[in-house]
């Protein structure tokens, strides 16, 4: 790992200010993605701005929607009884990210800002139409995820919270990569009144996406059998040693069906 200047910050303003003053700064939340990247010398920031001490970002608030501070760890979301009763699928998703040690330190803000194509949270954001709040603005999920490892975030911009509207029903089903345990296919389905939103992670060659074929089928009937004749084209799906694109296409339908069946 290359060395860097380390800054421990205690409020948003300070964190942003330090970032602006850095030559090539990066925020660090839980560090569960950043540190492995640095260890492999795949990145060499001059400054790391640690926002773990920014306590205002740790909050979990459930009212009309579920608002997770960007520093909320996966473990705290998974174990929150409020989240579990408001959007059970969100708690389940958080409980399935990485392993227990990653969940103890990894955060929603870090996950969403990184937009790893195999990460789980982006699927929840997109399917639940979440709003990502930063130190500058609010961005809806449809506009936020712009491509693999790409987001609408600008230089120095810091996610402060992510708000999820409560669906009538939702569920997340993940098919993990046998080695890394990241999603090969993760499907989040959500029903808001008569509106159906579905998001797929792990499979798209441009990151998380909404499969319109599945959304259309489920809009007519939010049942697993509604997907019996639905297919997904493998054309824009990832293909690697763990899963060819046709297999991923099939898994998307299977996981979508299982998610619909499990939705509550």
């Amino acid at each position: 790992m290359h060395d860097f200047n380390y800054h421990k910050t205690s409020n948003i303003e300070e964190a942003v200010k330090v970032h602006m003053g850095a030559e090539d700064g990066t925020y660090m939340a839980g560090g569960q993605t950043l540190l492995p990247t640095l260890k492999q010398r795949l990145a060499a920031p001059t400054d790391i701005i640690d926002i773990a001490g920014v306590t205002e970002l740790n909050t979990i608030t459930v009212s009309d929607d579920v608002s997770l501070g960007s520093m909320a760890t996966h473990a705290s979301v998974a174990n929150s009884s409020e989240v579990s009763s408001a959007i059970p699928a969100l708690a389940t998703l958080a409980a399935g990210i990485g392993d227990p040690q990653v969940r103890n330190r990894g955060t929603i803000g870090g996950s969403v800002a990184n937009n790893d194509p195999a990460a789980d949270y982006p699927a929840a954001c997109l399917a639940l139409n979440a709003t990502i709040t930063t130190n500058r603005r609010k961005i809806v999920a449809d506009d936020f995820f712009t491509g693999m490892f790409e987001t609408a975030l600008e230089e120095n911009e810091l996610i402060t919270s992510v708000s999820f509207p409560k669906p009538d029903k939702a569920a997340y089903m993940k098919f993990p990569n046998p080695a890394s345990r990241y999603a090969i296919v993760g499907v989040f389905v959500a029903l808001f009144g008569t509106d159906v939103r579905v998001a797929v992670t792990g499979a798209g060659d441009n990151g998380v996406f909404r499969p319109t074929e599945i959304e259309n089928s489920l809009s007519s009937s939010f049942t697993a059998s509604a997907l019996d004749d639905t297919t997904i084209s493998p054309d824009d799906l990832l293909s690697d040693i763990h899963a060819q694109s046709d297999y991923r296409a099939s898994l998307i339908i299977t996981m979508a069906k299982r998610a619909v069946a499990a939705a509550s």
Binding site: M1, H2, D3, R41, F175, P178, A179, S180, I241, H242, A243, Q244, D246, Y247, S250, L251, T254
Partner: protein, 790 residues
């Protein structure tokens, strides 16, 4: 054998004495060791599978902060890493042994090949400096496919003018061809035994230092056999005599074969320690382990099994391509020959067998022994072809095995492929495993799975293996360049406590407990009074080390024989003190008694007498009580058994879940049942890993695609079930202990049971084969292909 007298003898469940230090963080592994003034080495490795090195410029790196020295192949002009077993091809010619330099000499031959070493004050400084070394590579096509490589084209080693290391055979080819020609049915199969990456959890590491005052080297290294490392590194590579080279293998975090071999890195830093005049530490990062630890398996085989109209085997013909990788690792050449083809009779009476093995060089990591080493390849081939033969002949899986098994009264049994099995009862292990696995309830369980939309299958594997390669004279005649004995010294201290020095290294097997149990049983003393010392060539007289499940059968027997010498001498001392004839002395429960009297001496009293010899038979004996035995076995031992696997497959996703796994093994006498079960559990998990999860994958350019745990699937806790494990033992007939070995049975017996279960589950869909690892993706694809063709 003396009777078990105290609770720590043979057969007792004794909690391991080594556990306290491991559980409290007080283990002492190589990377935990730091020497004063220590520097750190970082290996600059080839990013290419095959390339010439046109030039290397190290000037900038040498001037980088903290750098102590940079060395390349030009600097390190020493002997190459030797191969320990010479194979002769069928035409009588010796195998090709191209040079195996520690630092590349003008050419790199696999991704990860060492090109330069940077030694610096800190590891980070060494790593940074390595990025400043400028190398001009001339990239060559990578030799990856074994059959194409055999035909020629690009050569991994130009100097040998071929990519074929040897073309070896065993058995009577014309008799096999004749028998096949007159067989009622021939079952054929194409089998790939997938390349595995061993992944002991402790990465390899070494610390080397040179003492200028004494001209002695001390090397701490992660080895299963420090004396072998001393011999190979000292005599063949660095020309350092043994008395000036001390190799210490302290606590070692698993080996599974991968830590048998002499590796470049430990050799490089030992050599460099004189150049820099300071201790040097090198520790592999896991990504380096993936591209430098010797890999395992990697066979491509075509086989034919002939049968008569009743499914009785008439002949077996096997043609195997075995991947050697880029260089010959220490025991690579013996694995696909004497540890593989000699096992092709399995537990069956097949009258004639012929096997041909072609060993091929490719631009991949060297391949050598990995848990099982050759024997899993043999059992997988046999049990897959038998499974298929049963299906083709319409005979039940159990039935075809029973029809062909060597019967319990046929021992000793001479196979057509050189081995003579001494004991076994294959029908009994099969019956015992079926009972434990509750196979009679399988049909019900299958229906229950069906009701949930799942496909259930059951697979059998009745296997045999061979442990403790021996005797040395025979092994030598077959090409081994080392002896295959083991040694033990039993040093009885004046107060009656005992230190054992054994050449069998322990890196998870629990020798500090089981070897102490043997001594406890023999001498009638509690294991608290027994210390097992291993791993340091400065302490231990000699040793061939731990691999091939040989520790107990060879090292344990050596220990037993050393304790017998102790008892003999102690009896004479006791006879003298008790004024009785030696023949009248009985040794039991730690006491020497004059038979028929109450005159006796405790073991501790005799020990004290041996060292305070005031009243001592000086005319007959020397003082002291310290005996050594070297034991060279008369034959291999032959553990065997039956593994039964039940899987459940989700046809929508291709996910295979192992629902039940049962292993009943014949491992001879059991010293510690708890440790035996643990060995079987671990081996079976590795076998399930090979069958379902693990597979090393390269692209056509020789880039390793499975170079970390992100892509190489290690078995984790949720990939395996609780195992049902039992033993059904016959005793080995040629060692006193009656032991056979247990370290590898799990990894040898299990893979075909898993794959046979998958084929069984999917057979009604038309699936007849699936290659390892049977990943969800692969299972799903075969279901799709079967659907498409039905």
């Amino acid at each position: 054998m003396p009777d078990g007298v105290i609770g720590t003898g043979i057969g007792a469940v004794v909690k391991r004495v080594e556990d306290f230090r491991f559980l409290t963080g007080n283990g002492n592994y190589t990377d935990d060791i730091n020497r004063p003034g220590q520097t750190y080495a970082y290996m600059l490795r080839s990013p290419h599978a095959h390339a010439t090195i046109n030039s290397i410029d190290t000037a900038v790196a040498e001037a980088a902060p903290g750098v102590v020295a940079v060395f390349t192949g030009d600097d390190m002009q020493v002997g190459g890493l030797p191969c320990g077993w010479q194979i002769h091809s069928e035409d009588g010619s010796p195998m090709h042994e191209p040079p195996h330099p520690s630092l590349a000499q003008g050419k790199v031959r696999h991704v990860g090949d060492q090109v330069a070493v940077v030694i610096a004050e800190t590891l980070e400084q060494a790593k940074t400096a390595a990025t400043l070394i400028n190398i001009d590579y001339g990239i060559l096509p990578a030799v990856m496919d074994m059959k194409a490589a055999e035909a020629g084209g690009t050569l991994v080693h130009e100097e040998i003018e071929t990519n074929k290391c040897y073309d070896w055979g065993i058995g009577d080819k014309s008799a096999v061809d004749e028998a096949l020609a007159s067989s009622a049915h021939i079952t054929e199969i194409d089998i790939v035994n997938n390349r595995l990456i061993p992944n002991a959890m402790e990465p390899r590491a070494a610390v080397a230092e040179f003492n200028k005052a004494t001209s002695e080297y001390t090397v701490y290294t992660t080895s299963q056999n420090p004396h072998v490392i001393r011999l190979l590194m000292g005599a063949f590579v660095l020309s350092v005599p043994e008395h000036k080279l001390r190799i210490i293998a302290p606590d070692v975090g698993g080996g599974f074969g991968s830590k048998i071999f002499l590796y470049a890195e430990e050799t490089i830093i030992t050599w460099a320690s004189t150049k820099v005049g300071r201790p040097i530490k090198w520790t592999a990062e896991r990504s380096e382990s993936f591209m430098t630890d010797a890999h395992g398996r990697d066979h491509v085989t075509h086989a034919k099994l002939g049968m008569d109209e009743n499914g009785i085997f008439t002949a077996l013909k096997v043609e195997t391509y075995a991947n050697m990788g880029a260089y010959l690792s220490t025991f690579a050449t013996s694995v696909p020959t004497y540890l593989y083809a000699t096992l092709l009779a399995g537990v069956y009476k097949t009258p004639v067998i012929y096997a041909n093995v072609k060993a091929i060089f490719t631009n991949t990591v060297p391949v050598d022994a990995y848990r099982g080493a050759g024997r899993p390849e043999a059992s997988y081939l046999l049990e897959r072809i038998v499974d298929r033969a049963a299906r083709e002949m319409g005979i039940e899986q159990v039935d075809i095995r029973q029809r062909n098994m060597i019967s319990a009264d046929a021992f000793p049994y001479q196979t057509p492929v050189a081995l003579e099995y001494d004991s076994g009862d294959y029908q009994a292990t099969l019956a015992s495993a079926m009972k434990l696995a509750e196979t009679s309830g399988f049909d019900l369980r299958k229906k229950e799975s069906q009701a949930r939309g799942k496909k259930r299958g059951i697979g059998y594997s009745t296997y045999i293996e061979a442990c403790g390669i021996a005797p040395s004279a025979v092994a030598g005649a077959l090409g081994a360049r080392a002896g295959l004995y083991e040694s033990a010294e039993v040093r009885v201290h004046p107060t009656g406590s005992v230190t054992v020095f054994t050449g069998s290294h322990s890196h998870g097997q629990g020798h500090e407990t089981t070897f102490a149990q043997i001594v406890s049983e023999q001498l009638g003393i509690p294991i608290e009074n027994i210390e097992i010392n291993h791993g340091d060539t400065g302490n231990v007289q000699f040793g061939m080390g731990t691999y091939g499940s040989r520790s107990l059968a060879v090292g344990g027997e050596a220990l037993l024989r050393a304790t017998n010498k102790i008892i003999d001498k102690a009896s004479k001392i006791a006879a003298h003190c008790l004024e009785a004839a030696v023949d009248d002395i009985e040794f039991k429960e730690g006491n020497f008694t004059v038979s028929g009297t109450d005159k006796s001496m405790a073991f501790g009293e005799v020990a004290l007498t041996a060292y305070v010899p005031h009243n001592f038979p000086h005319d007959e004996l020397e003082p002291g009580l310290d005996e050594t035995a070297f034991y060279d076995p008369a034959n291999f031992t032959f553990p065997g058994g039956c593994h039964i696997c039940e899987v459940e497959i989700d046809p929508e996703t291709g996910v295979t879940e192992v629902k039940n796994f049962t292993a009943v093994d014949d491992i001879g006498r059991v010293i510690n049942p708890m440790i035996v079960e643990g060995q079987v559990h671990g081996g079976v998990a590795q076998g399930i890993g090979q069958a379902l999860l693990e597979g090393c994958s390269y692209d056509s350019d020789g880039q390793l695609l499975t170079g970390s745990y992100m892509d190489y699937t290690m078995p984790r806790a949720d990939n395996v079930p609780n195992f049902k494990v039992g033993t059904q033992s016959t005793l080995c007939t040629h060692n006193t202990l009656g032991v056979k070995g247990v370290g590898e049975v799990g990894a040898i017996g299990s893979p075909p049971a898993v794959i046979n279960a998958i084929v069984d589950a999917l057979s009604d869909m038309g699936v007849t084969d699936i290659s390892m690892p049977a990943t969800p993706s692969k299972v799903w694809q075969s279901i799709q292909s079967a659907k498409a063709s039905s």
